[in-house]
């Protein structure tokens, strides 16, 4: 068995589940943002924004709560990652701020210059956010220089190594694919046929990035495959991932857009599960001094706190899932513009 049955492992998977929830949910609205400038007319752009209008801030709460859970369960990781990747996280925060207010401000004024400014902010904020999230993931998997007190020893430029950038680009491609599929589900008529045209391209781009990342991981970050080698049955995850991706064009072809979206979500879940299994039990790998790595044991809060947090999660998460499902249910169907829209 490659997993220990203890609270630290439970919290490893719970924090992972929160960030997976974030990737699947905010992933599509970041993807919609990245595709935003491909549409040209004001109506189409408003449709793009309003397709995510009721849900984007709820989606972002998954990141905030994931951050809180990381702070509570693994404070050393929270402290090391955010202070170590200081400028990268500040850039991420600025991107998220610009993106958030762009959604709110864009349609408040009729001036084309005003709208263009916020359209570009929305799109750039979305792309940069996705890229930085991917770069951070790439770095914690590849390893960053840490000292014995778990303090980061590198600089901002250390983070921009080729492997991390590749993971970053792959993340953008993944979110763009996911966002395009979401848009097919939410739009109709002219805009929908345009988006349908994008979907296949986004799938192809993602598969190329995914293949490149896989090869790079096998060559340069072999530690990510140790657990997989020990438990070969887990190889089902990459297979599930590929099947889910292959299923997307089929569902779209048959006009089953919601199932295409579920497939895309499932492929993201499989991908992040693969990432989590590759990392376990490490949370941030230290390179070159592997002994300084932060693991679910060296970074964790006390057993008492992990137990309290488990009660909080057990009480809260069913409610969270219930709200999320009901909100998505209420706002199901095609997006239409009305007086209340952005």
């Amino acid at each position: 068995m490659i997993f220990n049955l203890d609270l630290n492992t439970v919290w490893f998977f719970l924090v992972g589940a929160l960030f997976t929830g974030y990737a699947i949910l905010d992933g599509f609205d970041l993807g919609v943002g990245a595709l935003h400038l491909l549409t040209k007319t004001n109506t189409d752009r408003r449709l793009m924004i309003n397709s995510i209008g009721p849900v984007w801030d709820g989606n972002e709460v998954w990141l905030v709560t994931g951050g809180g859970a990381l702070f509570a369960a693994f404070p050393e990781v929270y402290a090391t990652a955010f202070s170590g990747f200081y400028m990268a996280f500040m850039l991420l925060l600025f991107s998220l701020i610009f993106r958030a207010v762009a959604i709110e401000f864009r349609s408040k004024r009729p001036s084309p210059r005003w709208r263009n400014f916020w359209d570009v902010s929305f799109s750039a904020g979305s792309v940069v956010s996705a890229l930085l999230i991917g770069v951070a993931l790439g770095n914690i998997a590849r390893g960053v220089p840490l000292d014995g007190d778990h303090e980061y020893l590198g600089s901002f430029w250390t983070l921009l190594n080729p492997y991390a950038l590749l993971v970053g680009i792959t993340t953008v491609a993944l979110f763009v694919m996911h966002g395009a599929i979401y848009l097919v589900m939410k739009t109709e008529d002219g805009l929908q046929s345009a988006v349908r045209g994008w979907v296949n391209n986004t799938i192809i781009v993602f598969i190329i990035c995914y293949a490149a990342t896989t090869v790079a991981t096998l060559l340069y970050v072999p530690n990510m495959t140790d657990n997989l080698r020990e438990a070969p049955f887990l190889f089902i995850l990459p297979i599930l991932n590929m099947l889910a991706i292959a299923n997307i064009p089929r569902e779209i072809h048959h006009g089953r857009e919601f199932r295409a979206f579920l497939s895309s979500g499932a492929s993201m879940a499989a991908l992040l599960a693969l990432f989590g299994i590759g990392m376990y039990p490490n949370l941030i790998l230290s390179l070159p001094e592997a002994a300084n790595s932060l693991t679910i044991y060296t970074a964790a809060s006390s057993v008492k706190t992990l137990e309290i947090m488990l009660i909080i999660a057990a009480l809260g998460m069913p409610l969270v899932i219930a709200y999320t499902v009901s909100i998505y249910w209420i706002f199901r169907g095609k997006v239409r513009l009305d007086a209340g829209s952005y």
Binding site: I97, G316, F331
Partner: protein, 448 residues
Amino acid sequence: MSVELLSRIQFGLTIGFHYLFPPLSIGLGLFLVIMEGLYLKTGQVVYHQMTRFWVKIFGLIFALGVATGIVMEFQFGTNWATYSRFVGDVFGSALAAEGIFAFFLESGFLAILLFGWDKVKPRTHFIATVAVALGAHFSAVWIIVANSWQQTPTGHHIVSFGDSVRAEVVDFWQVVFNPSFLDRISHTLMGAWQAAAFFVISVSAFYLLRKKHVEFARRSIKIALVIAVFASVMQLVTGHSSASTVAATQPAKLAAFEGHYPADEPAGLYLFGWVDEDAEKTIGLQVPGFLSWLVHGDADAPVTGLQAFAPDDRPPVNLVFQSYHIMVGIGMALILLSLAGTYAWWRKSLFELKWLLTIYVVSVLLPQIANQMGWFSAEVGRQPWIVYGILRTSEALSRSVTSGQVITSLVLFSIIYVLLGALFVFLLNEKIQHGPGDEIAEGEGHRA
């Protein structure tokens, strides 16, 4: 400048700017529940119109609150990593609970509040409004739990972890109900209600002076005056109770509030004054013995002064003294203003008193300033400690962050926040100038 000072300025700037918005969304949440509740009960169109108008304003305020709030969730890690390592076991749980119990509730149901008018039944929409208001209040609860633990830490012990030490939870309920929590949450929530009440009063008074949307404005200002009177008078109770707790648990902070230096003498209450920190004395207009009486019920009882503390253990006195006195002064002014309006309402002259309405238009700034000053005196008054008596602010920084990095982020935050602040005021003004009512004319939404 040192990393410590820069990081403190950045935290102050980002939390201060963020805190312009949450009090308004907490307080407006309450207003929306009342207005929509009245609409459902009476079926009168004007209440529907009120709800629609304030929901739009709420949406704008909420968006700014979310955008600036994400920064706060991560800034403990970016700039205060040593603090995060030290307190994560205790403090992190409160932040995670805030996310799970408050933010999801608030942001999820906000979708229905803003965009669900035609998608759900009126009753369901009302439930969403209640959920958003509750979520906003819950988020205050958890963040005040976290902050109050920094002021009056209980329910933890200090243990060694690896090569360092950290605080770990012993009793979760003692962490939550630490000695200052109940006083501070009630004081904070009343401050939020005041902020929203005077915001509604200000906009309504503006319409009444311009003789526009008169029925809307009259109903709005009446609801707001009731809440303003209640919250402003309650601040006397919660404020007094908070100060008594500070006297018992953080005596150096209380001494700084009043510029009281002698280690063990009776203390008066300054109406206003100036603290000469070098000479260790305060000059100003004072009610002798009043602080002793407030704290101990005896005008001759001694109050612990700043000289009882080593100079290294004292907060910056004049800053704390001034911000505290501005808060208290505004608190008194808000009581007078809300009572004056209620009296005029009773005399049936409220809508004709131009001078009072004019004061009301600008009164929106007062609770905002008081809320900022209150936090300023609470947080600066805690110095030099980041966790009172346990961890010093100077020992809590991120070791891997340089002053150059903090200058860069501070400059960027300043530029972005000035831009956002200006755009917020511009768009808010536009919404207010545009006024309520068009929704009804366009036949949008459900009707009575």
